[in-house]
Symmetry: C2
Subunit: 344 residues, 2 copies
């Protein structure tokens, strides 16, 4: 393993350095080859850093940034005023080759726009997409995109997402000839929006894509497909719905329950069984797969949940490490070159 340097927007997300710095330390502790550039307000970062293990601090460098993009800012405006912001500086470090990837829990629209502006989309990609890898019931994993980078998508975009998703599944998850499906409101060909039906027609005719048709919301976690493609609005709502239900179940499993008049040994045993169940469902815990990858750029950018806690933000850092090691952008570029028609 060779040295790996990542840039972290330390100010992004609901909690800023209180979460990003301890998460960075956690990531450093688990990978001795990792170096981190923490971008943001040096005072605030130092306060959080002061509590950290001094041995790890040797692999950290604080990069000052004057401002922070607010999470509720209008993306277009935020991008216009982004010079000197922690998010932009972190992305510039990737652009200049000082870092191999960037992680931010900040404003999604601004991150998407700035990343596109600074790192540029790959040839054949109009707009990058947010992608995550979900665990499924068959002990496998499903690549899902777009999760919110593009609220409206035409058929051409959906097809580009399908190609990128298939590369992810094949090259990173090692799934041979991955099945690709479009998320729709029914399985019949006539269902859904024009953009989806048009994308289906293109994918059906693509010899390079193992297109299997439409998949409905109830099959998100059943492992029916390896790659699930949708527009960013639907993807965001679907993912959050799934996460909400999973969190509700996990919290109900952890709660003491209604009847407390049982014998003490039954209460204890009940707790033990519920704990085991919670463990069995644990791989579905949204904290375990925090971090969506912005696919389609000439560089690696990971978007963490704004509300991520330390553990979840550390997972997002690990996602960035993996994407760099697996050379995701390079592999997508190579595949696009083979699949897409030559323009000259």
């Amino acid at each position: 393993m060779t040295r790996l340097t990542l840039a972290i927007d330390a100010m992004g997300g609901d909690f800023g350095p209180c979460v990003t710095v301890p998460a960075a330390m956690q990531a450093l502790a688990s990978n001795s080859q990792l170096h981190l550039l923490l971008v943001g307000d040096p005072d605030k970062i130092s306060t959080s850093l002061a509590k950290a293990d001094s041995a790890l601090q040797g692999r950290v460098q604080v990069i000052p940034a004057e401002s922070v993009i607010a999470s509720d800012a209008r993306p277009s405006q935020a991008i216009r005023n982004s010079r000197g912001s922690s998010m932009r500086v972190a992305l510039e470090l990737v652009k200049e080759g000082q870092a191999q990837a960037c992680i931010s829990a900040g404003n999604t629209g601004a991150l998407m726009g700035l990343a596109k502006l600074l790192l540029k989309p790959l040839d054949g990609i109009e707009r990058p997409a947010l992608m995550t890898v979900l665990p499924n019931q068959q002990q496998g994993r499903t690549v899902v995109l777009d999760l919110g980078a593009n609220v409206e998508c035409d058929s051409a975009l959906l097809v580009q997402f399908a190609i990128m998703g298939a590369v992810m599944a094949e090259q990173v998850l090692d799934i041979a000839n991955p099945r690709v499906a479009l998320l729709n409101i029914g399985q019949e060909e006539t269902k859904g929006l024009d953009s989806i039906r048009d994308a289906a027609a293109i994918l059906r005719a693509s010899p390079d894509i193992n297109y299997i048709g439409y998949v409905e919301g109830n099959d998100l976690l059943t492992g029916k497909t390896d790659v699930l493609v949708c527009d960013g609005f639907v993807g965001n709502v679907t993912l959050k719905t799934m996460e909400g239900v999973v969190r509700m179940f996990l919290s109900l499993l952890k709660s003491p329950g209604e009847g407390n008049k049982r014998a003490w040994w039954m209460t204890l045993l009940g707790r033990w069984i519920k704990k085991r169940l919670a463990k069995r469902f644990g791989h579905l815990n949204p904290d375990q797969y925090n971090g969506a990858c912005l696919l389609g750029l000439r560089g690696t950018v990971i978007k963490s949940h704004g509300a991520a806690n330390q553990r979840a933000f550390a997972v997002a850092i690990q996602q960035a490490e993996q994407a760099v090691r697996r050379q995701v952008p390079e592999r997508i570029a190579a595949r696009l070159e083979a699949v897409l028609p030559k323009s000259d």
Copy 2:
């Protein structure tokens, strides 16, 4: 309680009379005032009816229909060729006053189109919406619409859905001054699609609607709002995603689990505790609230899941009974008259 007559499209859904007829018998057994008109192929219906309790058969009338609308038919085509179909005949019985409501598990698009054609929308409503009432974590209930009747919606439609949902919550669920929210991908005002932002502006300015802002997918079951409004594509995907995750959890709770080397008494106790947990989550079981109501028409139409089993289809029939008793269309009409600007 007075006599109640409902028309059932006995041929609709994945299983036709095999499910609809036993479900009809179940509904009849639980309500002595109920009379049912079973519409479809008399031979097939009679075969299923023959097994039923003869005392209940006195409250059943078979209404012959020559054809069935396929569930994968293109709605426009299906409507053009609908004359004599079980779905259309059932709706005509409502139109002619012979039945007070219609229940079908058939083609959603065709049901929506035919219902609009035959029963007509209320004044002020452009297109009806599919609505369901979901249980939530706070032991309350949430009205969600549209669930798939309109795959694309402009702001005017979303506002109409909001008004209808508020009437449902107030008049049928007895929630005073119900909170109304729009489903979106973030809580900030700048988020989402134009149609949603425009609807938000209109709702914010409406003194008659208790509009509380945007709600995200993860709050579908948390009881943050009493009414949740979205377009039919997003609503359908969200509801199905939620159902898929709930079904997965319930099936995992019922499954025996991995380690089978425990003592017999622990296995038994484990089963008992899991059963109790499953019961605790049982109110979230999609079968318990099957049946979406087509709101905004001059009559009551209930759409059941195509894949509904007997128990679930019986719930859809109960929904129709309740909607008729609570005079849902009349109450929505009255409220619309008060809220909407007069056109003359």
